[in-house]
């Protein structure tokens, strides 16, 4: 999909710390391209929502510069509130109002011209498949309908930048597919979208860019294909026929094979990154069989966004986790001894 090259938002050296010394964001640089979907992903507590809230002007940065559509979002300007729509993860709806009442109220508040309100509500209700539910009170809506109405409110005035915090949370597969298709249409038409999501398969399929955030730092930001190319590795998963743990010398030997990296042990399952599929697989299997260790199954997993994600965020987490002692230090970990 083609996107405009000029950024709609630029973030430079962004740092946000909270009282108590908690650093939510630490030196983040990021550009959001026009007419594109950028996914923000990372472990819980990594700083994604803080970043989105700063872009939306809901939170002031501790230092660094942020420009959204050429303006400082911390200025809380009416013009930015009109051009940027922040749609929080919490469903901010009044259960006692009907869908129609809610949309009408927000259309007025967003300054949609009076004569266009009915048509705009009709258009949105049509495209979000809300129409027949509009006369009902929101308290009677299903979770998926509520999320669609929640989204519709943010679209009433055709925002240029849409900031979404986990818009697919709580949706069933059909609801997710519907929402992704809708967001793609929006981006193709005119809107720029930045969204927090953990749905990596969908990110790979639909997003133009993905920003992986971990421990307040931007770990990668590029197209999903580039992130996979640069950060994902082919994984080999081996399930042993026995529950007895492998001895430390065997593990160290495995970890020191030249085509193996980041060996992890989880009960009878071993997982490792491999660089050359066939020689590595053969070497590992022959090493295990020479030690009389039976293998129940093995599986090669091709590089994908999920493996890039785990590798990127795992590296950050590993810095904080306890490493195994001995010669294999840093090359292999047992279950529970390394965070992913």
């Amino acid at each position: 999909m083609a996107t405009d090259s000029s950024p709609v938002a630029t973030v430079r050296s962004l740092r946000k710390s909270y009282p108590g010394g908690i650093v939510a964001l630490d030196g983040v640089d990021l550009d959001l391209s026009a007419r594109s979907i950028t996914a923000l992903t990372g472990p819980n507590g990594s700083g994604k929502t803080t970043l989105l809230r700063i872009l939306a002007g809901r939170l002031a940065p501790s230092s660094g510069t942020v420009k959204v559509l050429g303006a400082d979002p911390a200025g809380d300007s009416v013009s930015l509130r009109r051009r940027v729509s922040f749609i929080s993860q919490e469903l901010a709806l009044d259960p006692e109002m009907t869908g129609a009442q809610t949309l009408r109220l927000f259309a007025v508040l967003y300054g949609v011209p009076h004569r266009k309100i009915a048509a705009r509500i009709d258009e949105l209700a049509q495209s979000l498949e809300l129409k027949r539910h509009l006369p009902m009170r929101v308290q009677a809506y299903s979770g998926g309908l509520r999320r669609r109405l929640h989204l519709a409110l943010g679209l009433l005035d055709d925002p240029e930048l849409l900031l979404l915090d986990e818009p697919t949370a709580g949706l069933d597969p059909a609801g997710r597919a519907f929402l992704w298709a809708f967001l793609k249409q929006l981006a193709e038409r005119s809107a720029s979208i930045a969204m927090i999501t953990h749905d990596l398969d969908e990110v790979a399929r639909h997003c133009h860019r993905v920003a992986v955030i971990g421990n307040g730092k931007l770990l990668a930001c590029a197209s999903p294909q580039t992130v996979v190319r640069d950060h994902a590795r082919r994984m080999l998963r081996v399930t042993l026929a026995t529950d007895a743990p492998l001895s430390d010398p065997t593990l160290a030997h495995l970890a020191e094979l030249p085509s193996v990296k980041n060996l992890r042990v989880r009960g009878p399952e071993l997982s490792m990154e491999i660089f050359d599929e066939h020689p590595a697989k053969e070497r590992i299997l022959s090493m295990l069989s020479s030690g009389n260790i039976d293998v129940r199954s093995f599986q090669v997993q091709e590089p994908d966004l999920a493996s890039a994600y785990f590798r990127l965020t795992g590296e950050t987490a590993e810095q904080q986790s306890r490493r195994l002692p001995g010669s294999a230090r840093g090359r292999h970990t047992r279950d529970g001894e390394a965070a992913s």
């Binding site: 013009s79 109002m97 009442q101 300054g111």
Partner: protein, 257 residues
């Protein structure tokens, strides 16, 4: 005010009324309370004569304007509750992050609250007539007294909203009743004329905004006086303006959280 601004005010006004009507229990409680006070106080003190130069006034006649103003005061203190509910559902944050001028949102809510309070006070007034209160008034006098009550209601609804926005706790509304309403009520001329109060209380009552609202209504209902713009309406308008400013600032602060 532009047509767009008027539409914002009227949309919020409409929603506030809709929410109030969907809570008949709260609505009837804030109406029942002053009615009970009027019946109890009115009959308990029916032999109590209010002195005035050249005669006396029946206590029920004297009490009725006080109870009407009390209805406004107690009803106004409930205004913030709806904002707390909106904060709990995150709906308020959503409203505040639209491009609409936040002061217009507040005006819409407060004018709806004031119209509800005046409607409740009217019902209390009619009940007072049913139980035997005797009053008479001129139309201009009554209109200005209603304006005084409206300004008073606007001011204390704004204060209630400011407290709700700053504390974010429903319990704060109960504290409001005890720390603001009760002292205000018993240091005013709502139940007792100032000349029959202890001296210090009589002095305090002169600066009590409830006294100004009660005085405007009582003056016109009992003595056919026209409420003074300078001594009644202007101070109440200033108070309403100041408390509206406080509530607006609290609303802007809430938008940042």
């Amino acid at each position: 005010m532009t047509a767009a601004a008027l539409r914002i005010v009227s949309s919020v006004y409409e929603r506030t009324w809709m929410k109030a009507l969907r809570r008949p229990v709260l609505l009837s409680f804030s109406l029942a309370q002053p009615m009970i006070w009027m019946l109890f106080f009115g009959f308990l003190f029916q032999r109590y004569r209010v002195e005035r130069p050249g005669g006396e006034i029946r206590y029920l006649d004297f009490l009725l304007p006080g109870i009407c103003a009390m209805t406004i005061l107690f009803g106004a203190s409930q205004s913030g509750i709806e904002l707390i509910r909106d904060m709990q559902t995150h709906f308020l944050g959503r409203l505040l992050n639209t491009p609409a001028d936040r002061r217009l949102l507040l005006i819409g809510k407060l004018t709806a609250d004031v119209s509800r309070l005046l409607a409740q006070a009217t019902l209390v007034f009619l009940l007072g007539l049913v139980v035997g209160a005797r009053v008479s008034s001129s139309l201009p006098g009554l209109a200005l007294a209603v304006v005084a009550l409206g300004l008073f209601g606007f001011a204390f609804s704004a204060l209630s909203c400011a407290i709700a926005l700053l504390t974010r706790a429903p319990e704060s509304m109960a504290v409001f009743v005890h720390l603001v309403n009760m002292p205000l009520l018993f240091t005013s001329t709502a139940f007792v004329p100032s000349r029959q109060m202890p001296d210090f209380l009589s002095s305090v009552s002169q600066f009590n905004p409830l006294t100004l609202a009660v005085g405007a209504l009582r003056g016109t209902l009992l003595f056919q006086e026209i409420p003074s713009v300078k001594l009644s309406l202007l101070p109440l308008a200033l108070l309403a303006l100041v408390l509206f400013g406080v509530a607006s600032a609290a609303l802007t602060r809430a938008a940042q959280d």
